[in-house]
């Protein structure tokens, strides 16, 4: 009886897990010409999170986003996005994905004309929400798109993407071109549009712009996902501390960095250790993971 119950519970867990898995990529291979980029890449993205996709220049962040949205086709492997094969690019899948690229041209027309032309393709587009986002971003819908700056265009498309209410929102370097107040507004707006049915993936180099917004993190390095976990999971296992002198090759220290007033070190928590430590920022976490790719082995847990 107990075994039966356990087996039922695990079956339910698997079902919930599959249902909540928005993206599943398995053994993905992809290359540009003869230069391989991904070889047996695996990725799982769960519903209801704002994922941050981090990686060095040329690590393949944009390529990964294009692969999972069906803009590029993998040479091998299996991909499922919202239960669809992205390669087929079926309209029901496309109407549930909004992709904001880093660079994009917009047609010569007024913002309100663009809205009327494009919003009809998204069945759950919320015009009230869009108007509110435009107000927050100080956008004039009467303005011609050709007269808008890059930052204004980006804010317009961001407002559009958030108001489209798609299940998956992909933002590639969304804060590039935004001024300082807009970056703050961006974080607030994205957070306010998040629901448990939606999933956002934000690819960025500007990790400071994304502090307290993105979590979990996906870190891409040398053609593989070397980290896909939450910041808290790292805090559970490691502790950040400021020490006055160079700690040297001390046991348990996985990362050290010279800062004003000493050295910032990240070391493994000892068993039962409850020290709060310094807050772990995303930039440090990225450096730790990239410098110690085997330490986390996909995640911290």
């Amino acid at each position: 009886m107990a075994n039966e119950l356990e087996s039922t519970n695990s079956a339910i867990q698997v079902a919930v897990s599959v249902k909540d898995e928005v993206i599943h990529m398995q053994d993905i291979g992809f290359s540009y010409g003869r230069k391989p980029l991904f070889n047996h890449l695996n990725l799982s993205v769960m519903r209801g999170n704002i994922y941050g996709l981090l990686g060095k220049n040329g690590s393949g962040k944009t390529t990964l986003l294009k692969l999972l949205s069906g803009q590029l086709f993998p040479s091998e492997g299996y991909t499922s996005a919202l239960g669809f094969d992205p390669v087929e690019r079926k309209p029901p899948m496309l109407s549930e994905i909004f992709y904001l690229p880093e660079e994009f041209p917009l047609p010569k027309m007024k913002a309100k004309e663009y809205l009327a032309m494009r919003s009809v393709f998204y069945p759950r587009f919320d015009h009230t929400m869009f108007a509110q986002f435009c107000k927050d971003f100080s956008l004039d819908m009467q303005q011609n798109l050709s007269e808008m700056s890059l930052g204004q265009k980006k804010k317009l498309l961001l407002a559009f993407g958030l108001a489209s209410n798609t299940a998956l929102l992909i933002l590639d370097e969304p804060t590039n071109g935004l001024d300082i107040p807009s970056k703050r507004q961006f974080r607030q707006t994205v957070a306010s549009a998040m629901t448990e049915d939606r999933t956002f993936i934000i690819s960025t180099h500007q990790v400071r712009d994304m502090e307290n917004l993105i979590d979990p993190l996906i870190i891409l390095n040398d053609g593989a996902i070397i980290f896909n976990d939450t910041v808290d999971s790292v805090n559970d296992r490691f502790v950040m501390a400021l020490v006055s002198s160079d700690p040297g090759p001390e046991k348990g220290i996985v990362y050290k960095e010279k800062v004003l007033g000493g050295w910032m070190v990240l070391k493994e928590r000892e068993e039962g250790e409850e020290v709060q430590g310094q807050p772990l920022d995303l930039e440090t976490l990225f450096n730790v993971v990239v410098e110690n790719p085997t330490l986390m082995a996909g995640g911290a847990r």
């Binding site: 010409g33 086709f73 690019r89 309209p91 041209p105 027309m109 032309m117 393709f121």
Partner: protein, 263 residues
């Protein structure tokens, strides 16, 4: 599906409306200026009024304008690295996206240009009458072999549609060059074929001029049953098979480019 197709057609019109408006205005001004110059010359040279310019210019704008518009229809959506993402991510099938562009350039453009010519003549002709006494001659789309022009447009537009999807840059000029190249190659092959066949029948001393002369005089008699069938077959190939081949190939080219272009 039809709703999505309608939305895609609307998107094509909306994104191109500024350029199309400028093009329409250009046509209007060219027609108006040509008619005015004709009327002016006729009045002051006392040579009598020349026939209206509409019929002469219609085929130019139909063919050249239509081929250029067709050639450019896929340029930014399919071959621009930054521009293609929106077209790719638009919630519709590749077939719907392809057909929206194809139908607009193949069928809507000729109708639009006929209407534009007619409306221009409605505006222009009373002015000519008022100022120069030029008799009113409205553009009449039902005269002047419009049917055969539209049929030819349907054939050659499909070739430019294929060129629009096949070439990454310089679609119009590359298509024109390709047509020229293929035309020269086919003409050379035809000439060789005719020379060989006629040499077998009339002897090896036959010259090209004789071949052309003989062919024209004795064999191209439309009343002949064999030639009639050959002509009918040729028309089917020209008006049906060639356009369908170009449309189908262009569609598969769109599918192929969407899968491989960014790589």
């Amino acid at each position: 599906m039809m709703k999505r197709f309608g939305l895609l057609v609307n998107r094509e019109v909306q994104t191109g409306k500024r350029d199309l408006s400028i093009y329409a205005l250009t046509i209007f001004l060219v027609l108006f200026a040509s008619e005015t110059i004709n009327s002016f010359v006729a009045q002051y040279s006392r040579m009598g009024f020349a026939p209206a310019v509409y019929d002469g210019l219609f085929s130019n704008f139909l063919f050249i304008g239509g081929f250029i518009i067709t050639s450019l229809s896929f340029a930014s959506d399919m071959f621009s690295k930054n521009g293609q993402h929106e077209w790719l991510m638009l919630p519709a099938t590749s077939f719907e996206k392809f057909m929206a562009k194809g139908v607009l350039s193949a069928f809507v453009y000729p109708i639009a240009i006929i209407l534009l010519f007619f409306l221009t003549s409605v505006v222009t002709e009373p002015i000519q009458l008022l100022f120069f006494g030029n008799p009113v001659t409205l553009f009449n789309p039902f005269t002047g072999g419009l049917g055969s022009q539209l049929a030819s447009y349907w054939v050659w537009q499909s070739v430019f549609l294929l060129g629009a999807t096949y070439f990454h840059k310089g679609h119009f000029f590359k298509t024109v060059l390709s047509i020229g190249g293929i035309g020269i190659a086919l003409a050379t092959l035809g000439l060789l074929f005719v020379k060989i066949i006629f040499s077998l029948k009339y002897g090896s001393s036959l010259r090209t001029f004789d071949v052309v002369f003989s062919f024209d005089r004795f064999l191209l008699d439309p009343a002949s049953g064999a030639i009639g069938a050959f002509r009918a077959l040729g028309k089917i190939l020209y008006y049906v098979a060639l356009p369908i081949f170009c449309w189908v190939t262009a569609y598969f080219r769109v599918e192929e480019v969407q899968a491989t272009d960014a790589v």
